[in-house]
């Protein structure tokens, strides 16, 4: 039945061709400004902080210390991450001892891990880049770092390399060649989960993370 519905729909769509020769206005008129690196970091930080993300710009060497500071302030019991993520080894060597969360790698399929995952406090992920104009992280989950890492835990910590911050979404799409191959799931993340569905009052953490903490690595 479905294929005949398809045929009838397409017959009408094609027939519309004969009755209307549409005017299509020109696009390509709008572009957000291109920025230099310092401006990109600055704008991304400002934009993200406006929607209550926490952004720390740190050196490549400093980030583990900053992470420990962030964790200490929150005292989470559990932390999940991708075992084979580029920072996995660093995590295992630094996040241990008193007051530090237990590391729980996302090492199984969700079917086996789901119940545990829904109880975990912090998820850490890498990012593929950032977008300054909107204060956005580009996150393309991988087998090493699955999709739910950035969604289910109460706090999401993201590591972002400063060199990978683009000025605009259009630039990111172009430079990263999105059109040549999209991943299973590409995410743009611009803050903690939020809602204003009750009396337009903004509240954070309605389904996903209540906090988003971004470490920008210079």
């Amino acid at each position: 039945m479905s294929s005949t519905a398809r045929d009838r729909i397409f017959a009408r769509l094609h027939a519309a061709r004969t009755t209307v020769s549409p005017h299509v206005p020109q696009g390509g008129n709008w572009q957000a400004p291109m920025l230099d690196k310092a401006q990109r970091i600055e704008l991304l930080k400002t934009r993200m902080e406006t929607v209550r993300s926490e952004v720390h710009v740190v050196s490549e060497a400093e980030w583990p210390a900053k992470l420990l500071e962030v964790l200490k302030a929150r005292e989470p019991k559990t932390l999940t991450y991708g075992h084979d993520a580029w920072f996995g080894g660093t995590l295992r060597s630094k996040v241990k001892g008193k007051g530090m969360p237990k590391l729980v790698p996302y090492g199984e399929n969700v079917e086996a891990f789901r119940d545990e995952l829904f109880g975990i406090d912090v998820g850490i992920t890498s990012t593929l880049g950032g977008i300054a104009e909107n204060g956005t992280l580009i996150v393309w989950p991988t087998p090493q770092e699955p999709r739910l890492l950035s969604l289910v835990p109460t706090v999401h910590v993201a590591l972002l390399k400063a060199d990978a911050i683009y000025s605009t979404l259009a630039e990111a799409m172009r430079e990263m060649r999105w059109a040549e191959g999209m991943p299973t799931n590409a995410l743009l993340i611009s803050g903690p989960s939020k809602t204003a569905d009750i009396e337009m009052t903004l509240a954070f953490g309605v389904h996903g993370p209540k906090e988003l903490i971004v470490l920008v690595l210079e």
Binding site: R12, P25, G135, L187, S190, M200, T201, V206
Partner: protein
Amino acid sequence: MGSQHLDFTANVTEALADRQLRANFKSALTGLMKKRVAVLPDEAERERMRDDAEAAKRNALAKLPELLERLERKCTENGIIVHWAETTAEANEIILGIMRSHDATKLVKGKSMVSEEMHLNHFLETHGIEALETDLGEFIIQLNHEPPSHIIVPAVHKNRQQVGRIFADNLEGIPYTDVVEELNAIARRTLREKFRTGHVGLSGVNFAVAETGTLVLVENEGNGRMCTTVPPVHVAVMGLEKVVESLSDLPPLLRLLTASATGQLVTTYVNCITSPRKEGERDGPKEIHLVILDNGRSKMLADAQLRRTLQCIRCGTCLNHCPVYIRIGGHAYGSVYPGPIGKILTPQIDGLADKGVLATASSLCNACEEVCPVRIPIPGIIRRMRTEAYDEKGDGVVKGHGAKKNLLETLVWKGWELTYRIPALNRFVVSMLGKFGDRLPNVGPLKAWTSVRTAPRFAPKSLHQLVKEEGIRHE
């Protein structure tokens, strides 16, 4: 609801009498209007974005059959199963079939206006399937067995006290509270449990990119990501107008959708889905279905003016700016799509006989057209609905054209035409009104007018006469 009789006048009377309702709408919508301007402060830049957004949508409509074929091909290559539905009934059956093939009885839903158009929840419930809304606003009104009153903020008509009572009355073990933070926390607890245990997740689609076969969903809460990631099966439903040609169409569309809908620069999540879980990936649905619905849309495409209805990106800002919607709220329209967009969309889908009355609920003030991010000429299409409702020339195309045709109005307007077309008759009528107009019987239109106003007055001497008497040059 499509076939249900709409008593618009009764709905309006009821809505206008509800002071709480009017206050809730006014404060929320005024806030949204201000936020929109705050996030799009530079008018010239805003107009450039609108140029691009309009161009992207009109381009897609101009190539609609090709782009849909391309979308289907790309999705299929990517492993997404594509279904076509001419009617909402067909779409519902397709989804029921998917649920049954997985022995699934629990559906967790992200926000989808098309699923409202299908009355999917009701349909599934009659087949023993739980369909649970997970967007906070949708969740609230589902608990209270109401339809949404706004396409972006479905529970905008409720204040915190009302939400508190709905939760206390409908959720087990929940005491009354009117603290927004607490209400959100209650929803979080309740719904996270549902995501964890749902069998199938359903979502709408904001943009479907033909170039790559990508479904783009925007949201703030994260429930959409939950529904499209946690359950093993994801079903996406979309109207066939949601397709755009390429990824490069997205930046202005996303920026304007978000700014117009909620006055934000960007939503928390832009979720781009291109395939089901691949070998080696640890989460995400193993199966994705895309249901593409027509329900009257392909017919709109066949008319140069009406097809512009299909440019709509469902941002809801025309509702926020509509002086009629602000006062009567969404439910009075008795239709899934209220407000200005509803006035042009609903009569085309459900027909002028049932829903043509909606097109009378506009003063044609043009506020909607002024703000519509994709520049749909809404007032012009409202006029078109009115013209089609009477269909004088018999060349109407909208379902139910001519439904409002009646002898009385035909005669009245014929008389009007003669009065204003024939100068001698015009002079006579105007002079009679000058003499006797103040004694017109207070019935019909005059009675409607004088319900809250004094009667119009007629000058003893018309402008035509004064001009002559003053010796102004006349031809």
